[in-house]
Symmetry: C2
Subunit: 475 residues, 2 copies
């Protein structure tokens, strides 16, 4: 059995008794990735790039600029906002003999707030930023929730009005639509911290317990019904109010209905209803209402939200939230920057990947998201052909083409064509008997047809053919 010596930095495993430690140097032990982390083999990586590319494209189309920060931050950056309680959820460490504690970033918002604060008064208004960091949680891994995941963050700083909230929701929905998801697949569930607070107050929660009520409602799906009821009572609700709270937390109204419909059912503060009414107009301008529901059960667990809050879920409710965000008007100030209104969201790659897989939106076959080779060059094994292969590959790659060839000893053309097909190459360029006469056979592996092309024309012919333009086929 192995354990680490507490308090010793970078402690080495210590052996007790007869149980063998993992062998060290010279070992043939097969190593594994740490629990809750992922190896991305080429097909997994192609999926990740497919998702990241949709995120990035939606961000740029909407005029957001990409940023990034360090993978680890001063531990204090997280405790200042969330208190020391967060430390057990973090991977924290310090440099051997160092004086400062660090933590792997568990979320990107503190880094963003720090970067915005560092700009001080020179921060342009609005600032539209996005990032795609790796984030880390020292929790026990669960389905849809790993110790390391990639998260897309989109933030709009400097705009108070609901057009900013609608704009970041538009970016999120645009990326999901780009991945093939429709309003049948995903729902944006929208609420408002002020509306929810008013509702909780009306049900009997005292002002100093409103934050606890947010936490309880946010965790309700993880709690047995009777535990939820018990904790609700502790917040000051009577039996009747607990039933009401549960009903409200589980009811959703299509956003195509005006927010006043909810206000008429429940007594909500006037300002929050006005916020949602204004948001509704902005969502409509962006064609988003069919994707959205009003849902007062959405409160978001984090303490820093101040107004509109929202989550995106799969329509069937099979998975955890795909994305979550809202308005956080005081965060930049908390990190020493100017007072800046702000809103934004985070969307992870894990739950989204599960949903895309369930909907068959990750390509027909496991490898179909991999970049396709433009050209697979084949030599018939004669000297002139063999000598030409590598220089030809080099010059076609200089033109920007994705070029492959076999690394096997075989010069059997049939076997090489088979390898070209399994690599999903678009064209096979065959250096055959006519090479000394300056002619090359090009076979279109999708269409199945082939033609002869003079070697000297190839650099112009191939890009044109691949772009689908006129190709002057010779046969």
């Amino acid at each position: 059995m192995c354990y680490t010596v507490p308090g010793e930095h970078a402690a080495r495993p210590v052996c007790i008794g007869a149980v063998a430690c993992p062998p060290m140097a010279g070992s043939t032990h097969v190593f594994q990735a740490p629990k809750g982390t992922r190896d991305f083999h080429p097909e997994d990586m192609a999926t990740r790039r497919h998702i990241e590319s949709a995120w990035r494209s939606a961000s740029i189309r909407h005029g957001f600029d990409e940023i990034d920060g360090p993978t680890f931050e001063h531990l204090e950056l997280y405790t200042v906002k969330s208190g020391d309680g967060i430390v057990s959820e973090l991977f924290s460490f310090n440099r051997s003999g160092g004086e400062t504690d660090y933590a792997l970033r568990p979320e990107f918002t503190p880094t963003l707030a720090r970067m915005a604060a560092s700009k001080g008064r020179s921060l342009s208004m609005p600032t539209k930023w996005f990032a795609m960091p790796d984030l880390f949680r020292a929790e026990r891994p669960q389905r849809g929730r790993l110790r390391e995941h990639r998260q897309w963050n989109v933030d709009l700083l400097g705009v108070t009005g609901p057009e900013a909230d609608a704009e970041v929701i538009a970016v999120a929905v645009s990326a999901l639509r780009g991945l093939g998801l429709s309003a049948e697949d995903i729902r944006v569930r929208i609420s408002h911290r002020g509306a929810a607070a008013g509702l909780f107050a009306a049900l009997g929660v005292s002002e100093d317990r409103i934050a606890d009520a947010f936490t309880l409602v946010d965790r309700r799906d993880k709690l047995p019904k009777e535990v939820f009821a018990q904790q609700a009572k502790e917040l000051g609700l009577d039996d009747d109010a607990v039933v009401q709270l549960d009903a409200i937390a589980n009811s959703r109204i299509p956003a195509t209905c005006p927010p006043s419909d909810i206000a008429s059912q429940h007594s909500l503060p006037i300002e929050s209803v006005a916020d949602l009414e204004a948001l509704s107009v902005e969502l409509e301008q962006r064609g988003l209402l069919p994707f959205c529901d009003w849902d007062l059960g959405i409160v978001r667990g984090l303490a820093y939200y101040t107004g509109t809050v929202w989550e995106i879920h799969d329509a069937k409710g099979t998975f955890r939230a795909i994305a979550g965000g809202g308005r956080y008007d005081h965060l930049v100030e908390l990190f020493g920057g100017p007072s800046v209104p702000a809103c934004g969201f985070g969307m992870g790659d894990v739950v989204l990947g599960l949903l895309l897989q369930e909907r068959n939106l990750l390509g027909d076959t496991p490898g179909s998201l991999l970049p396709r080779p433009d050209v697979f060059i084949i030599s018939n094994g004669d000297d002139p052909a063999d000598r030409m292969l590598v220089p030809l590959a080099t010059s076609l790659r200089e033109l920007g083409l994705h070029v492959r060839h076999t690394w096997k000893a075989t010069r059997n053309i049939g076997k090489q064509l088979k390898e070209a097909s399994s690599a999903h190459a678009r064209l096979a360029v065959i250096l055959g008997d006519q090479v000394s006469g300056g002619l090359i056979v090009v076979k279109d592996l999708d269409a199945g047809d082939q033609c002869d092309v003079p070697l000297r024309d190839l650099p112009a012919w191939l890009p044109r053919h691949l772009a689908g333009g006129p190709t002057d086929r010779h046969t």
Copy 2:
């Protein structure tokens, strides 16, 4: 003054004396990124993406598949190869109360070897992989060497011959050429572990000290001349041999000269000269000889290299190495996998960024690498124009265009055109007086000319105009 309590997990700062600690909750303290790490504001990020895009493009053109692994690994993955001595160079940690030690990855090769080993006999031959991980070093940061950097890794597994070494060098050079660097700017310095070992033996180093000789030669630029001489003597060299070693380590021969030229000057093992001769043929086939030098002073510090080793430096020798790599035929086996010949390299973003900056290859102005908006929409402030702005932006973004508009209250067209220009937008779409008649003004901000386009034609007209095709200008 603040210090942390040694041995306490996630220790909090403790105050001594009157010097103020950074304030905690509710603070207006301005936080900083940890020493040796970087914040990437939009212009910095655009530079990073520019470099990554060249890396990625070169990898894909040469038929390599992208992979990635976890940001942290079991600490043992690094100690198994390098011994416990490496621990002080790592950021290591464990989960609160956990039994396993982890470390932020200091290099990608162990992860790659672990992933290859996990495939066992199903690993395809060859396997051509690339990755662009963030890597971490717990050292004091220096110019060109940070605590966190991004490193491109390219590896070719399963091929024994020099065509594999030449292929990975081709990928590296191709990316650097894609960034605008020529054979005047960069030099690939190539050596061979066997050749260097033979040379050291001929100079008097005993077989069991050859590895120490590699380390000494690798570190020679960091040592005062007399320390180098002293340490060389301890390896068994006499005064004359020390002078010879120093001369050899500092002489380079253009690779357009045959490797036998070096062999005739120094007594090198026949097999290693044959390796370099064969490599020379492969480099020539790929047009690489003008970029390369033979340089027996290149030995690479890491223990796992077995044959050809090489580094890329700026031609003037101003900076640290831009890239380093070589052949490591036993590494996958060490991690429990099959015996697989392999070669590859790593190239970081820090030194490369410094060189590109020095050569003015990062664009004319700081923002010139940022993605350019295709369209900047401007409203003259009349109701019909204002109502049209957001729906038009939405529909153009759905077509894939990068669309911006002002978030300021101003509806002054001149001010908005100025904002469009500073955003480097290509076209301004102006919703002006003729909007109610269905006409829109499109101004080309590069060319300076403008024309009227019917609103209904805009979705077809804009992409065609942006692609440089015929645009049916109306004025």
